[in-house]
């Protein structure tokens, strides 16, 4: 461990193989379907200039001063309106909202408030890797909730809620990272009922819900059981991730603990950045921008789905999400997406081998996550054709 006497928890923070694997995506000529970046074409650069000017003219030095840990009041008000009216979370009063540095910080704060070493946490299988990275330093024991083509299976959740009594259940119910799957309305109701019946805290992470290309919107689970659910949102996919701005609504007691934790972690989120978001959301810019973002991504996603059907061996399964940023593919029994990864890199295509999204090492060998938002249609066609050819050679 070197010169200093680090805490034991650092053993749970080792750099993953994944980081090494993803380094190659920066090589020249590489088409990367590996990352999870929005397209820079989705960022309203000129609008941000205008918002900076307006924010500083409106609020002057006050947005350069220290602020409250809860968040900048005009943003809290805009978020409350948004969460109540657009997300149907009627309980989202301003005193049930906290602004954070992206939604990643919400995961760290939740972990800090709930996880002592050995505590049980329930997660989808597979689940969002960034959540595992946020939780790992607090040394939880993971309990997997079984999923099928519609995502989380409520019966599995109820069994775990009763038998294992996890501190909380973390899930991404809409356009999940990594699978793109969405949980339907009936299952959402069942999950909400389980949360209420067993007084289970659910951490509902919803970064992609607004990025929908087809089909009918689904209500957040938080709109069905708001006293048991922490709902986590972000401006990363609807405004710009480089601003680092997330928000959470949760029961009042939990928000007040999160505020205390936030204060000790970094006092508060950038007042200046919050002011930009207050204008972006409060003055209707977001409502106008989201359809533009969807128009930008829809043809990319359609191109990927068409190319997958055309080029991937017929023994491969893949998801067909109605929104979000990812498609999930799985090869037949015996196929190993990590074993063939080096050959894909040689042919200048990168993806994420799916095993990294599972808590158990033996799971997910045949799976992979494919991102379409940050490549052109031509790159997507070419990359999927290359992968299809390569995979066919390795069956």
């Amino acid at each position: 461990m070197g010169q200093f006497r680090y805490a034991e928890r650092t053993e749970c923070m080792e750099s993953s193989i994944l980081r090494e694997i993803l380094k190659v995506t920066a090589q020249p000529g590489m088409i990367s379907l590996a990352g999870g970046l929005p397209s820079p074409d989705a960022f309203p650069v000129e609008l941000v200039k205008e918002l900076c000017d307006k924010a500083l003219t409106t609020w002057k030095d006050s947005i350069l001063q220290y602020g409250t840990s809860e968040g900048f009041a005009p943003l809290l008000e805009a978020l409350s309106d948004y969460l109540k009216n657009d997300r149907h979370i009627k309980s989202a009063e301003t005193d049930r909202i906290l602004v954070t540095n992206g939604s990643q910080q919400i995961l760290d704060v939740v972990a800090k408030l709930f996880i002592m070493p050995g505590d049980k946490i329930a997660v989808e299988s597979p689940t969002y890797l960034g959540a595992l990275q946020a939780f790992n330093p607090y040394q939880p024991v993971y309990v997997d909730i079984a999923t099928d083509e519609e995502g989380v299976i409520p019966e599995s959740l109820e069994e775990v809620a009763v038998k294992e009594k996890p501190k909380f259940f973390y899930l991404v119910p809409t356009f999940q990272n990594p699978t793109g799957k969405s949980i339907g309305l009936e299952r959402r109701k069942a999950i909400a009922d389980i949360a209420i019946k067993h007084n289970l805290l659910i951490v509902e992470d919803d970064p992609y819900g607004a990025i929908r290309y087809r089909g009918e919107p689904l209500p957040p689970i938080a709109s069905l059981a708001s006293d048991n659910i922490l709902y986590s949102g972000t401006f990363s996919k609807t405004f710009a991730p480089g601003l680092r701005l997330g928000f959470v609504t949760a029961p009042k007691d939990l928000i007040s603990w999160m505020v205390k934790a936030k204060q000790s972690i970094d006092l508060h989120t950038s007042t200046f950045v919050q002011a930009l978001a207050a204008l972006y959301l409060g003055e209707g810019h977001m409502k106008r921008q989201i359809p533009k973002i969807c128009e930008l991504y829809r043809p990319k996603q359609e191109a990927m789905l068409v190319a997958l059907k055309k080029h991937f061996p017929s023994s491969f399964f893949f998801t067909e999400p109605e929104g979000g940023m990812f498609v999930w593919a799985e090869g037949p029994e015996g196929f190993d997406s990590l074993a063939v990864y080096e050959k894909a890199i040689e042919r200048k295509v990168a993806y994420v081998p799916g095993r990294f999204f599972y808590t158990r090492k033996e799971d997910g060998a045949g799976t992979m996550r494919l991102n379409f938002t940050n490549s052109t249609v031509e790159q997507i066609n070419s990359a999927i054709a290359t992968l299809g050819e390569l995979f066919a050679e390795h069956l």
Copy 2:
């Protein structure tokens, strides 16, 4: 504890009496010497407008995209130059620097990397309250280092280093919060030697070093023993706290652990805000702004020192710092600054009773912290006269 099963560490995160005490500072007509806010007059609002425009014109969408956990490359380069040339930390190459959400986040990250429940941490007595709040959730045992009028006593540090083997020693050597004291050059050398001799990690927090009204600059301890010292800086006092921007330079191995921790906590600090700071620091704005900030604060501080001499009972001691944001006062044996606090509030003056800066409940009853940066000279004169009269009545 309410509905949810919070982790045991939340018991160390209870809202302090201090928070309640400071609530009254918002009452109308109150002169607050309690906070630690820079003056809003010190914030270059028009310059920030220009920097926003220039940053977006120069770097376009790239400063709205996800970035690396280490920090925005142009800011890392500007910080490396600054730390090497202005702060004399010759080892501060870009790969030994991490950008954070204010320096508060540095304290959280250090605590996360080093403190397991029961681990010993050495701190000055008194010390910065925000550091205790960052460390407390990780459940350390504090070991006090004795101080006198020149701050930390090196012999006390060496004794603790040998006997207690603390994970690290946290201090604010220049214009300390809360006392305003600065450690002289000879003691800095002695502390650096102790760090090297006993392989002790020192966390040197330097938010105020550049805010000097009189006297000769002192080198950071990190410039004397950079392989054993984590040096923490911030833009909060030299640019604007509402941006939430801090930076740290430390040995490479430690920085790489901090980067891993930062990634799991919030991925990275706002790229956009980092771009503003890259221009502010890199294009010489900070060098021009700091003298203006000092010119703004110097008369306030001089007024406070003159008023203290004139109005406080002669049995009171107070520090006369050459810079920073605070003066520290201590009454004679038997005086209790908390007991008289309510009467001060009735007379519309607030300060921070000093006991909150000590790790042991029995210490510091007679002390108080007085801030001068966020009041006018007239307010300071009036407030100190009021306190002097009140304290004289309670001796």
